[in-house]
Symmetry: C2
Subunit: 150 residues, 2 copies
């Protein structure tokens, strides 16, 4: 195990709160690097994969862009342009929402479902490999992260 102090060669932190913020940022970067490598060969980004999962979860019910935005992991990223990218790859369809012409309905295509299935097992295995914790520790970590956000 490499403690955060060792990983970034910092002798000590002001207090555990400041340390945990740095630890989160560092661990996230570690995770994102690993995820990028996994997704790269498929020409899709981690957040694009996440959006496809959101759409599949809808079971054929169309979803608006703003609803996708709210559920994205990175709240600041641009759902509109991300969906455009997915459309260019043929993974989603867009259509004007009939009741409200401002809104846009987004649906996952067969091709989108196919790549999701293709990727899913790899991602799930990758995640398990990445997290060097036993089941009790993972549950604990999930609880602490939920609590941390308040």
């Amino acid at each position: 195990m490499v403690k955060i102090e060792e990983a970034i060669q910092q002798k000590e932190f002001k207090d555990p709160y400041n340390k945990v913020v740095v630890n989160l940022l560092y661990t996230n970067s570690f995770l994102v690097t690993s995820q990028n490598a996994l997704f790269k060969p498929y020409g899709i980004s981690p957040e694009q994969y996440n959006v496809l999962r959101i759409l599949r979860g809808q079971n054929g019910v169309p979803t608006t862009v703003s609803s996708i935005q709210e559920r994205m992991l990175n709240k600041m990223s641009n759902a509109s342009r991300l969906i455009e990218k997915l459309k260019l790859k043929g993974f989603v369809k867009r259509s004007e929402c009939p009741n409200d012409r401002r809104q846009v309905d987004v649906l996952i295509t067969e091709k989108g479902l196919k790549i999701l299935t293709e990727l899913q097992l790899k991602v799930e295995k990758g995640n398990k490999m990445f997290v060097h914790l036993n089941i009790d520790e993972v549950n604990q970590l999930n609880d602490l992260l939920d609590k941390l956000r308040g």
Copy 2:
């Protein structure tokens, strides 16, 4: 407390390992958004602040670009260009390393030290505010993150 399932409106996860990966990504985005807001008025990014802290920790001993790169929180970001930005703002000095002319020595300036001091208290308070955990929980979380990375 908002559980991750509620935050991103996902009913359930394949297993706690996949859940914790999503939880980390989501919590990180939450944190980065909060940090950006704090740093914005000072015209400096969180990673730039971090590099200034690394340099201050050197106590006047110059550091090479690659050594800074290794210690950055985001391993993939570009130390060379980040240092260029800090130099333009007058927060660091760059000079050719005498023993190895490939390397570049980086030093924090008085102005850099000044903005660090100015920001530090705000950042420390911000971090404490951000992390809704008691001291035991924060220590636990630090240990779990260290262990997670293996």
